[in-house]
Amino acid sequence: MKLMGFLLLVAGWALVVSAIALLPSATARAGFGLAGVAVELGGLALVVHAHLVLTMKKP
């Protein structure tokens, strides 16, 4: 789960950067950029959850 979270973090960033580099219109860039940020937040939630579970297992 942790690895998946980190992969999502990087994927979200790649989406943001690709949107800026490849899309011509400002609206599309903003839309895909925000979608990338949403993917990153999903990844961050997975990483946080993985560590939370780990911490609770080893008090």
Partner: protein
């Protein structure tokens, strides 16, 4: 268009040098804060760690980091996507061989960066307090100062692709981070988060039911003195950073100093009010963290704000800190003894977004392009810097275990690693926080 360093007259360069020489006070402040918010049995270790971090950071930055970071207008590697140049890493020789160390802007950048990378390296000490081995602290700092920090710093301050978002894609003035809310503090704070995840919590911090035990800092006087030292250091950091990296005129030093002070003042007072209403009285350590969050947030935006906006910036930073500390400690089980993640990550990201939200930087001539540029910068911190710094520290942990062994957990870091405590004439209490 490749951005270049600003031209500085002799008097402006001398002023900039004086401002840069204030920056080590920010390091002193952070070291005092880290020590005071930790436990008495690890106080000496925390201070020695701070000194070692400053040493390792300076050496690694000069040997490796400066060649990867470079400066705007200096040699760099780039590739082209859809006709636009993406400058991703500097191509300078190591050991500062390409820089004349006089009063030139490039040499002032080097001096400021030697102090700044040390400041970034001090941030994780707070999160790893009472369980992070001295050798591991130095090794982790080497990774930060040699690779993570210079890479992101090149993108923002070295004429890299984030700095050129404006010129290449019309996003306002490109990613703006006047004096390091993101480049110094969020990078250091994300490394701190990685370190807390890798080390795990201190023994006794969480019960088997997940209930958090309070382990208070041992010296509020050190903490609050640290805040005052940090304030002086930040005045120099924000002003010199704005001149060298954000194109601010040397005459704007007064505005930057006023904004920095107002942001810290508003943040500290807001945290005091919030903790007064939540807990019945102001909490000294949280107020100190609020003050620091105001300083951190001001770094990105201070040159672009009007004083009233600086007050709003600080008030929001100070209001966020107590809630961020609670969220991390009670909900997410992140044992961050000094609150570094709340201060430097939350405060830093808020400062970056405030450049678009509260200032007129870029917005007059580029509508909302500045917003997108700032969001891209924040996304890069979370989506690239966090995995990078976590991955490097995870690999380091596989080669050399970063957490102290069980015996060290019981003895405290001073006795275990240094053989003597910081306060030998005082009675250091046994470990009352640990449930045997």
């Amino acid at each position: 268009m490749t951005p270049a360093l600003p031209f500085l007259s002799d008097s402006s360069a001398a002023l900039c040098l004086l401002l840069i020489l204030l920056v080590p006070l920010a390091c002193v402040g952070l070291a005092l804060l880290n020590t005071g918010l930790g436990r008495s049995r690890s106080a000496s270790h925390a201070m020695l760690s701070s000194l070692c971090v400053l040493a390792v950071a300076a050496l690694l930055y000069v040997i490796v980091g400066s060649s990867l970071q470079g400066a705007a207008g200096r040699p760099a590697h780039a590739f082209v996507i859809a006709g636009k140049t993406w400058n991703w890493i500097a191509a300078e020789p190591s050991f500062l061989r390409g820089v004349h160390l006089d009063l030139s802007p490039a040499s002032l950048v080097v001096l400021l960066q030697i102090f700044s990378v040390g400041l970034a390296g001090l941030i994780p000490i707070s999160s790893g307090a009472d369980r992070w081995k001295l050798g591991a602290t130095c090794a982790s700092t080497a990774l930060l100062a040699g690779w993570t920090y210079p890479l992101f710093s090149h993108w923002v301050w070295g004429g890299g692709w984030l700095a050129q978002l404006g010129a290449n894609y019309g996003l306002g003035r490109g990613f703006l981070d006047g004096a390091g809310s993101g480049t110094i503090h969020a990078v250091g704070g994300l490394t701190a988060l990685s370190i807390t995840w890798i080390l795990g919590p201190r023994p006794g911090k969480y019960s088997s039911e997940g209930i958090s035990a309070a382990i208070p800092g041992h010296n509020a006087v050190l903490v609050l003195l640290g805040c005052m030292c940090a304030w002086l250091g930040w005045l120099g950091l924000n002003a010199s950073g704005a001149i060298l990296f954000a194109g601010a005129e040397p005459s704007s030093v007064v505005l930057i100093a006023v904004n920095t002070t107002l942001a810290a003042a508003a943040a500290g007072l807001t945290t005091a009010v919030v903790t007064r209403f939540r807990f019945g009285r102001p909490d000294a350590s949280l107020v100190a963290n609020g003050w620091m969050a105001g300083l951190v947030a001001s770094s990105a935006a201070a040159p672009f704000l009007k004083p009233a906006a600086a007050i709003v910036l600080g008030a929001v930073a100070g209001g966020l800190v107590p809630f961020a500390v609670d969220l991390l400690e009670f909900k997410l089980a992140v044992d961050d003894p000094g609150g570094a993640i709340s201060v430097h990550v939350v405060g830093g990201i808020w400062g970056l977004l405030a450049v678009a939200a509260l200032s007129d930087a870029g917005t007059r001539d580029a509508s909302n392009g500045q917003w997108l540029a700032q969001v891209v910068g924040v996304a890069t911190l979370i989506g690239f810097v966090l995995p990078l710094t976590y991955g490097l520290n995870w690999l380091l942990n596989r080669c050399y275990r970063q957490r102290v062994d069980v015996e060290g957990d019981w003895q405290g870091m001073d006795l275990h690693e240094l053989g003597a405590g910081a306060y030998p004439e005082f009675d250091i209490h046994s470990d009352e926080f640990i449930q045997r």
